[in-house]
Symmetry: C2
Subunit: 641 residues, 2 copies
């Protein structure tokens, strides 16, 4: 994997984010270790682990596949070991998203019962989901009672232990054509957690040794993530906190404010962070008494995007900004929930006055302060945390404050519902028609969902941003989520005033028409569809387009990409995309190079199973070229020019 | 880990089983690779994986902890990485057992509904469990209806997604003192699969980084295994197939019969193997027509023990006999379900006429024949498999048949119920009194449950057997399960006619009295408590003793040991034992040596949490000495001489 060797890389070669360049220089000067340093110290990597051919499941090992030892002690081959490793990582992702969904469902249930200080902000969506679930009185019943019933159905769906039928959330969101395909392949989940449990079983010593069967199990895990994880989280969060709507805000570390108490919310589940925003408003006076001009709550990672898309809270950065945000010296508190929280935040914060505050019982960090979130006392917990930040303001060393003057205007808050609302201003009867026409006429050649992470093995944001630029130039619409959306936001690609000019002429035309309908000059050519769990919204859009055009998703000119893939969650989201029939680019490659068979299954044979494959590529220009080739091929097959 | 280096080891140094010595010589001559060869080829092992300090959860890695890179890219320390690895392995075990329990529950449900050709063999136990669950009409309701209700409750228990209370199967089997302890520690499971799901979440990148918190999560996983896995499987299997009762049978590869069609059932879940036994009886005529004297069904691994304890079917061997059983050249079919099925069986079978038949949809092996088990057509599937074996008899090469003349008489089928039945012949009012008296008077110094696996890194069966011999000599009662029970069976330690003479004089006296009550000369000093899921029976016995004596389990003079530990399941069972308050020996050590902190938590601090710790040791004499020291310490604390 020579191309990902990071040793000796300069700061300028590590990131395209100018704020990070500035702050990493300070880190270097002050001897502060960040992920950018640690990734270099991890070179050279172990080739066995990198190729996926080491196994430490059972205690007969650890085993490694070599020419002299072509099988592990149990007899597992490289193919088996690679497939199991991949399945296990996919399980880690699906489990994370389903745990997230469960926590939101429990909160919704408590809110419905009046036990937790949360409102039902999107009653219409609640009633729509309840109707889809076939709950009696979905249109008429008291909204709190209904919320409790929907939450109970969600929890049942996650817990179901037997059945033949698809889980409810699959029936709510997946195309029928897909449900049939998955049923035929024997990978249609009837319940949520059971897929994780079964998967952890099948990958243990002496269970599944058949790589094809294991990869089918991986697809099943991706499907359960897509619906039991992503879609369920999104639906229930929308019900609780309101569905997103277009918001203008700012992105980049420059959103931190020197005279203010800065609090960043970081993680994925917005249950507490919504309350932090409220508490910060309530405690403004106390902040002023403490000598600040006020409290500045900013977002990091997906929790940040959840606040951006619903409240317009500025987003300070993505994953690889989480440590440098502390190095600004202006951060009073980093409040984290779970997922993608580097344990490295604490040693970075030890160099400053910043307090890292963990809040989830399953996500503690040695050296951090733990203030446990409790849905019933959410307001109290949020106030306690904000007061801790206020109190910490006095410990800030003004001489060490360095907030880079780097930020971009961003438009966020897109979703299928928002697009339909905009489009229906053009065609009320058949809102999707203008979009479908643009695709069939070739003004939009196709669409690529660019999603996922940052990964310091890749130049920070470089792949995420450059692929997008290459695509929009060639009239391919880009939709992004998660850390990629924030990369696009920071790079100005979501600034509707200017970014649409970076698009090809045809796409520019469409964006102008749509923008006009939306009451502005143009829409941005890269649409911010939200956090990582909001990838479900992309699935909904694809289903709507597929239904409208009358063609399965697998035949649409659409692709997915995770150009700086890090987490198990990104892997399972990608697996879901492939199971949906969306060919997916992934970089750096997952750990499959040790098995030609597994590589072939994913890059070739999957086409016959689900109508989509996986491909890799670390050069953005070349990757975009391949993407456009694949899009044009789909168009030709549909008879489109 | 130099002591486990297996390179250049002779056959005689690899196993104490004379049948294996004989067959491994043939393997060597014929160039057939077995686990005994593969374990040598895996030397030297990777020290990073061995010490638990490599991480490949996310794609920023793989990472390794070295003096130059004390943290992974995310910032995780060796402590975090080691703890997460251990948690993950424990999850693999708990998930396996809960999937097993789920499959049995689904079968029980179908049987109750009249959809599957299975009877309710232990109606009394069904009614007892139903009563314990608080099901109305437990004493009077139609047994099939009741079976369905119990099965539904089991499935609910596995699926539950929220709650404060313990899961039903914990309330059925765990001591109240433990439930309180676990609740205080925040590790009391309310549901089954959710613990696996949460655990897979907490170990992913950026979630739990606190080693103490992660180890608490590991204990929670062990608890869910003990009840949602082991106890539930045992209860439902007893209901379906009957509770075990003392049986005399034979153990060792010598149970294969030259003139018969030999079929071995291998794996863990006896749903199909019970039917194979029936089908073999039904098709005896066809076997005779095919030129054999009949059909000889034998057991391997835990599926074998399930048949032994309920039907007296001979047990051919444990894990490290599964490949050599094929090398006898006399095996027509190896029918496998799941868990501990070496993929290496297939290449071994390729050297002979033997057919390896996989039967579970989640456990296929390339090159094996797959005949899928289906509870509704269980009889049909079983007959198809037996006929395939009959048909395969003609392919046997008589010149290559080598069945070692090695077998031992074995008494199996023990359980708390059986012990109480025997003891009540001595004291009907207070059946446990004779046993409690023997313990308090010191005739039985204490008891050790020796459980778990084979592991070719250890001389096959050596540790399992020698520790037992050392203990019984010193008047410590031994209870064993799984591959250890089969090691003890093969070694004659479960032959009631002779083995009790190997016990210390005091223990001999007790065994004679008990034996007499049971209608024989003496009971064996090593009691076969069944398969690995039957470890739940040991938990039940400990609870009964603890209740009777009025002392928590943690204060009883009892220990557990897994002297040749291989599987993730053994790790999770051991974790359950520790959570119960039973100090546990484990060998070879789990992968914790890379973290002094995790090692300290498990070997020292766990005492303060749950009243038990973990210790290691690879010398059987020294290990037994340490065990006796710990037992005597417990006795002293109880005021016993």
């Amino acid at each position: 994997m020579k191309e990902f060797d990071t040793r000796g890389r300069s700061i300028e070669d590590s990131t395209i984010d100018p704020a990070n360049v500035e702050l990493l220089r300070i880190a270097k000067k002050d001897g502060i270790d960040t992920a950018f340093d640690r990734v270099q110290k991890q070179e050279p990597k172990c080739t066995f682990c990198e190729e996926g051919v080491s196994c430490r499941t059972c205690n007969m090992g650890p085993c490694r596949i070599t020419p002299n030892s072509p099988r592990g002690v149990c007899g597992a081959t490289a193919d088996t070991i690679v497939a199991r490793g991949l399945l296990q990582n996919t399980i880690g992702g699906a489990a994370s998203h389903m745990d997230h969904a469960r926590h939101v469902a429990i909160l919704l249930r408590e809110a419905g019962m009046g036990n937790a200080p949360y409102e039902i902000k999107d009653e219409a969506k609640l009633r729509r989901i309840a109707g889809g679930l076939g709950i009696e009185g979905a249109d008429t019943k008291d909204k709190k009672l209904l919320a409790m019933e929907v939450a109970n159905r969600a929890l049942e769906d996650l817990g179901r232990q037997h059945g033949e039928d698809a889980m409810d959330w699959i029936k709510l969101h997946a195309p029928e054509e897909r449900i049939d395909t998955w049923k035929k392949l024997g990978i249609l989940p009837f319940g949520g957690n059971v897929v994780v449990n079964e998967g952890m079983h099948r990958r243990t010593m002496g269970v599944d040794a058949d790589p094809v069967n294991i990869i089918l199990g991986m697809l099943k895990t991706g499907i359960v993530d897509g619906y039991g994880g992503l879609a369920m989280s999104t639906d229930l969060q929308d019900i609780l906190f309101g569905s997103p709507s277009p918001k203008i805000s700012e992105a980049g570390l420059g959103v931190l404010r020197e005279d203010y108490i800065n609090i960043s919310t970081h993680g994925h589940v917005p249950l507490l962070s919504e309350k932090i925003v409220d508490a910060a408003e309530d405690l403004e006076e106390e902040a002023i008494k403490a000598g600040a001009k006020g409290i500045n709550v900013v977002g990091l990672c997906c929790t940040g995007i959840e606040l951006l898309e619903r409240k317009g809270i500025p987003i300070a950065g993505n994953e690889l900004n989480t440590e440098t945000a502390i190095i600004t010296g202006a951060m009073e508190a980093v409040v984290v929930d779970y997922q993608c929280i580097y344990p490295g935040l604490v040693p970075v914060a030890d160099n400053f006055h910043t307090k890292v505050i963990t809040t989830a019982d399953i996500a503690k960090i040695p050296g951090a302060e733990h203030i446990e979130f409790n849905e019933k006392e959410a307001d109290k917990v949020a106030k306690k945390i904000v007061r801790l930040a206020i109190d910490n303001f006095k410990n800030r060393d003004p001489k060490r404050v360095n907030i880079p003057n780097v930020k971009s205007k961003v438009m966020a808050g897109f979703s299928p519902e928002v697009l339909v609302a905009v489009l229906s201003k053009i065609n009320k009867e058949d809102p999707l028609k203008p979009l479908v026409d643009a695709i069939t006429e070739g003004k939009i050649r196709g669409a690529v969902a660019i999603v996922g992470c940052n990964n310091p093995r890749v130049k920070h944001d470089f792949m995420n941003v450059e692929i997008a630029r290459e695509l929009i130039k060639r009239n391919v619409l880009v939709i992004s989520t998660g850390c990629v959306a924030t990369a696009h936001a920071k790079s100005g690609l979501m600034n509707p005033d200017t970014a649409y000019k970076e698009a090809g002429e045809d796409l520019q035309g469409v964006l102008k028409v749509l923008g006009k309908a939306a009451g502005m000059e143009a829409l941005p050519p890269v649409l911010n569809f939200g956090s990582c769990v909001d990838n479900s919204r992309i699935g909904d859009l694809l289903k709507a387009l597929s239904d409208r055009i009358g063609v399965p998703i697998k035949d649409l000119p659409v692709l997915a990409s995770a150009p700086e893939y890090t987490t198990e969650k990104a892997l399972s989201i990608g697996t879901w995309a492939v199971s949906l029939g969306v060919t997916t680019h992934i970089n750096p490659p997952p750990r499959i190079s040790g098995s030609q068979l597994v590589t072939k299954i994913l890059t070739e044979d999957a086409e016959g199973l689900v109508g989509a494959t996986v491909f890799t590529g670390s050069d953005p220009v070349e990757t975009a070229r391949v993407m456009i080739e694949k899009i044009e091929e789909k168009r030709r097959k549909l008879g489109l020019n």
